[in-house]
């Protein structure tokens, strides 16, 4: 500024007239220095940092840990003067991340292949004529990387300017505002003014379905969605059409994105080109409160973050969990939240003599149930837990029913004869992350794509990374990776068990074979024969070893693993037909026709789904977003949900209702707080109390007795008819209804 004032004084005309006008203004002329003209000159004029400076220690970005698979192969590189050791195959960007420097990027994603087309990650490397794309350049030993030099900064400003040239001024109406990579990086790394004065180009929107909203004008052609769809989802739906400024992302044919992982492109897209259609224009991200919880729509237990505004759930976003769901969630998890607002039970109700329900107070409802339960004989009492029940409520239900003298309490989905003695006979023994090490998969009677989408994503990842072979026995289905269809029923299974099938050689030569059996097989009458055939295949091919247990069972419902751990199994087949008092705790898949006409049915749940129409008394409970419950996923990993929104109306938590009912009925359960329930669970199944830990099964299948039954020839049937409508919440959801009308393959 001083130079400018002096210069202006020199060139100001020394006439009195003008001086009087300008005396109260200080004319400032713009003076330029050689350092400001070009980045190279600025680099030259910067003072050298003193040698042997003691630099403060640095932590990797985001608290990441670096895994050295081969410690001798570590290279040393220098990032901004700081020496870091990285494994051999690391790129410059990854090396900078280890050194704690976060380099801006648009097209690079740690779980997708490298594209290198956005050029935002340019950094300066010594002895290189031009800045290098750090996401693509491998780190060589002794490389000196500089990320905050004027050249790197100028490169970033330039890239930002180019990206913003054709980008529409949509921030006020764009849903990504507030969480947009383009906004954040232009504030941090962009220049303050642009030089574009022509007309911006616009692109026609594509219809990708009822879930993903596209505004393709905002697309910056980073190709993250294209790479995601082809690599992680396994469907080659999206592609880049055209060249230059006319490039468009689309499906080319008028095709909807029918993949069950299609909602993840919404998270991946750095700008507002692909956004969530149900969440469009509903809320801004800064007014939402995020609660980290667990999803219960299937048995995987994906980690989610529920964004809520007041009492309403606005959207569901995935959370990072390397072992279970990485960074993805299925469409059902992501979009079924609007079922939480429809058809909710909010008051206790009793069915009147004219058949209609009347809302009553809790006192009256519990008093009525407590009266009736004493008028029936003990073995006519039946308790059925639903597919979304948490471990605490199932424990209290089992205790209550047992103290009333009855043994008939089970979880829906477990047929007669399923025994829960050995945990290895109903869990995914290779954990979900362990499936990545398998090289041959045999899927028996299961369709992981609709039963547990995240397990399917993991198999897809393994197939893609190490060319694993997949074969399946069951009804013909669509898979998003190459797999062989061996057969449809137990006959094929017998052939493989006896060694007559050509697939047996593949199994024998596999280093880590994995067999995944679907829990739908538990409902078959010849279940024992089928499972013993599977076990003989496992034994013949060395599938179960001390270091690798490849015999897995894929459960269908979130409550099944915990139910089997707690001992909620069906002892007698005729229990339901001869029942006089039926307590349905969220059980909607029960065959209502089997309940006798004179039985007294109590339904405790959060949605008015199928079983409510048969109930005599309704007790409203809270849904998974409103309660703190323990859920165990299909691999034995215990997790807890956290309440994100308050309960609806007069609803209570499930376990509290059963505990209050027990007190009104005169049965005194020895606990009255959630800690008491958990200490009771600790006595029965201590792994359910250790949250965020996976408890593997202790014994292998070798302890099971021999089975003498014969297999029937009925082929395996698909368990999940409609992927989008499997539980009470999804059946009440409008978005799921739209999806099942439009996106299901006919």
């Amino acid at each position: 500024m001083g130079v400018g004032i002096l210069a202006s004084r020199a060139i100001r005309p020394a006439s009195r007239l003008l001086r009087s006008q300008h005396s109260n203004l200080i004319l400032r002329t713009i003076v330029s220095k050689p350092e400001l003209q070009s980045p190279e000159a600025a680099a030259v004029s910067q003072p050298e940092p003193p040698k042997n400076q003691i630099l403060p220690p640095r932590n990797p970005v985001g608290g990441a840990r670096v895994h050295f698979s081969n410690p001798e192969d570590a290279i040393e590189v220098f990032v901004d003067g700081y020496a870091v050791k990285v494994p051999k195959g690391f790129t410059v960007l990854q090396a900078c991340e280890v050194a704690g420097v976060d380099i801006p990027r648009f097209c690079y994603h740690s779980r997708l292949s490298i594209a290198g087309n956005c050029r935002m990650c340019l950094v300066e490397v010594e002895k290189s004529p031009k800045p290098v794309a750090s996401c693509a350049m491998p780190a060589l030993p002794g490389m000196k990387i500089k990320t905050d030099t004027p050249i790197a900064k100028k490169a970033r400003e330039g890239v930002m300017e180019f990206l913003l040239m054709n980008h529409p001024l949509d921030c006020p109406i764009c849903d990504q505002g507030g969480e947009c990579d383009l906004q954040d990086q232009s504030m941090a790394f962009g220049s303050d003014r642009g030089r574009f004065t022509e007309m911006k180009r616009s692109v026609v929107d594509k219809n990708l379905g009822p879930l993903v909203k596209t505004v393709m004008t905002r697309c910056i052609q980073c190709t993250r969605c294209v790479r995601f769809a082809s690599e992680v989802a396994g469907v080659q739906d999206l592609g880049m059409l055209g060249r230059g400024s006319g490039e468009e992302i689309g499906t080319y044919v008028e095709k909807l994105m029918t993949s069950e992982l299609s909602g993840n492109v919404i998270d991946i897209c750095p700008v507002g080109a692909l956004t969530s259609k149900p969440f469009a224009f509903k809320a801004r991200n800064w007014e939402l409160k995020g609660t980290e919880t667990i999803d219960v729509s299937d048995a995987v237990g994906s980690n989610i973050r529920v964004d809520s505004r007041g009492p309403e759930v606005m959207r569901i976003i995935p959370r990072l969990n390397e072992d279970i769901n990485e960074e993805w969630i299925s469409d059902k998890t992501r979009f079924s939240y609007d079922g939480l607002k429809r058809q909710r039970l909010s008051d206790p109700m009793i069915r009147d003599s004219d058949g209609r329900f009347k809302a009553v107070s809790w006192r009256d409802a519990l008093a009525v149930v407590g009266d009736i339960i004493h008028q029936v004989k003990s073995d006519e009492i039946v308790g059925i837990a639903g597919q979304l029940s948490d471990a605490e409520s199932m424990m209290v239900l089992k205790d209550f029913v047992n103290r009333m003298g009855s043994d008939n309490v089970w979880c829906e989905g477990t047929a007669v004869g399923v025994d829960a003695d050995l945990r290895s006979s109903y869990l995914m023994n290779t954990s979900i992350s362990g499936l990545e090490n398998a090289d041959v998969f045999l899927l028996v009677g299961t369709q992981p794509r609709v039963e547990a989408a995240m397990v399917n994503a993991r198999i897809c990842k393994t197939v893609r990374a190490s060319n694993a072979k997949v074969a399946y026995i069951g009804p013909p289905a669509d898979f998003n990776y190459d797999c062989k269809h061996l057969g449809t029923g137990p006959d094929t299974l017998k052939e493989i068990a006896e060694g007559r099938h050509p697939f047996c050689s593949t199994l024998k030569n596999a280093k880590n074979p994995a067999i995944i059996v679907g829990a739908g097989l538990f409902n078959r009458t010849d279940k024992d024969a089928v499972l013993s055939a599977v076990e003989s295949i496992a034994q013949a091919n060395n599938v179960v070893r001390p270091d690798w247990n490849g015999l897995n069972y894929l459960l269908l419902y979130a409550a099944q693993a915990a139910a089997l751990d707690l001992g909620l199994i069906q002892q007698s087949a005729k229990a339901l037909e001869s029942a006089k008092f039926v307590y349905l705790m969220g059980a909607d898949d029960v065959d209502v026709g089997k309940i006798p006409k004179d039985a007294f049915v109590v339904y405790q749940g959060h949605h008015g789904d199928k079983a409510v129409y048969r109930a005599n008394v309704i007790l409203p409970a809270s849904a998974f977003t409103e309660k703190e419950g323990t859920y165990e996923n299909t691999e034995g990993f215990t997790q807890q949900t956290v309440p994100a929104v308050p309960t609806v109306g007069d609803a209570r938590d499930d376990w509290k209702i059963v505990r209050a009912l027990s007190e009104v009925s005169g049965v005194n359960l020895p606990y009255n707080s959630i800690e008491g329930v958990r200490s009771r669970i600790k006595n029965v199944a201590p792994n359910l109390v250790h949250t965020d830990e996976r408890e593997p099964a202790a014994f292998g299948p070798s302890l099971k007795p021999e089975c003498k039954e014969t297999m029937s020839t009925t082929p395996f049937k698909p368990v999940v008819e409609n992927f989008y409508m499997t539980n009470a919440i999804t059946r009440a959801s409008k978005i799921m209804a739209q999806c099942s009308a439009v996106l299901l393959k006919k």
Partner: protein, 133 residues
Amino acid sequence: MAAPFTLRKIGVPPNSANLTEARRRVFDFFRAACRSIPTVMDIYNLQDVVAPSQLRFAISAQIRNNAHVTDPKVIDLLLFKGMEELTDIVDHAKQRHHIIGQYVVGEGLVQNTGSKDQGKSDFLKNFYTSNYF
């Protein structure tokens, strides 16, 4: 009949020096309140609803509620609040339903419905109130 009692507006009295003086003040307040009962019954037409003895019982129950207090300054403050309430009632600043709801103990009123939950545990009482306990 004796001359009707008039509640004279006394300015803020100085703090009581010790417990004896505070005790004396409490009894003076009780006497003043009981002497204004006929006026109150007349103003709010409580002749058929309640008997004077019941109102006296209500006042003494409120005072007995705070019988455990020993600090003279706290007693002074409670008396100040009580005097304020009494002045409001006598000045017809309240209405009939306030008096009946707050001071008349009878059937179906808030004070009497506690008997239903007598034999029940804390868990059940909390359960009937709300989900969060």
